[in-house]
């Protein structure tokens, strides 16, 4: 299956981007083929309510079944969960370790948004 991780770059040694809505990029990792591709997330994040909703739309359209990030706001959370995408929260670690945590079943699913929305 495909999972999306909020990242700053394509470097697996690099730390994950803790924010989902404002992440510059997502790494889409395929757990079967163990390959990854980078998708850009710098669309118009200035639109009202833009960040969370647009980022969620972005990863959903990329066909992922789960996302891993540091924090998710209420709008992103709503859109992802209503679309059947599982949400996992992780501590700030390098992407390589996060993928390992996920594969080993260490990461827990988030049952709600964990940060406030920004209204704007």
């Amino acid at each position: 299956m495909k999972i999306a991780i909020s990242v700053n770059s394509s470097d697996l040694e690099d730390k994950m981007d803790m924010r989902f809505g404002r992440a510059k990029k997502f790494m889409v990792y395929d757990t079967e083929s163990k390959t990854n591709e980078l998708i850009d997330n710098t669309q118009n994040l200035n639109a009202a309510q833009g960040a969370g909703i647009q980022s969620a739309q972005n990863v959903i359209n990329a066909g992922v079944e789960a996302i891993i990030t540091g924090h998710t706001g209420p709008k992103a959370y709503k859109l992802l969960s209503e679309s059947g995408v599982k949400i996992y929260h992780s501590e700030e670690k390098c992407v390589k370790d996060i993928i390992a945590d996920f594969t080993n079943g260490i990461l827990k699913e988030a049952d709600s948004a964990d940060v406030e929305g920004h209204w704007i």
Binding site: A48, Q49, I60
Partner: protein, 283 residues
Amino acid sequence: MIIAVASGKGGTGKTSVSVSLAKAIAELDSKVKLLDCDVEEPNANLLLECSRISETDFSVKIPSLDISCCTGCGKCAAICEFNCIAVVKERAVIFPDLCHSCGGCSLVCPEKCISEIESKTGVITKYSSGKIHLVQGILDIGKAMSPPLIREIKKNTESEIVIIDCPPGTSCPMVTAVSNADYVILVTEPTPFGLHDMTLAVDTLRKMKMNFGVVINRSDSGDDRVENYCRKENIEVIMKIRESIDAARAYSKGIPLYDALPEIKQDFISASKTIMKRAGEKI
């Protein structure tokens, strides 16, 4: 006759002036409707001895989607200027927090699967205080928008004389509260902040082509910059209220300017006559 009381700067005494004018007009033997449109922080009821008559919830319309007929065409998301609708996996998802209730999504849906439902955003309370009938709106905490609630409060204008206590500032809540008034009173104070904010309010009122005058509160507490500005700009100063620690103490306990000192009461009565005269005049 609708008289709006506004200010650029907050804390200039707008509410105390609104209540005092209402009392002065009531004293002149007229029924008055006082509309408290400062819906984020309404205070008029704290300055009046009043009894509550009714309390009703206020709701705005937000879209509700019938998923069974949604085809994911995206027309609703496309028309929404406020990013309240996202379309993923061939269905729409609605985020009503910033919905402006324009009705566009419901109108544009080809399958007619968006209907509008009510979402509570505030409360309207009516009070009675002698000849003064107070209608107050209060916005629920965390709710985004004042204007719809303000518009609803302003439907209560079946009275000969209506006074509107407006929110401070010059952005859309103030504009909504002030619009269509026959006369606007700007309450200010003679300080740099007071003058600066008043000039912004004056620009707004001129843009809206409104008839207005100024009340200078705590008129001896600063300098003469506000009076100089009014003279230069040909703006009528309706009333000046001197600074008074007794009036400040009285206000802190919920006593409006009108009842704080006898000389102020007389000033309000004559000011209200002038204001009503101006409100009756066409520009």
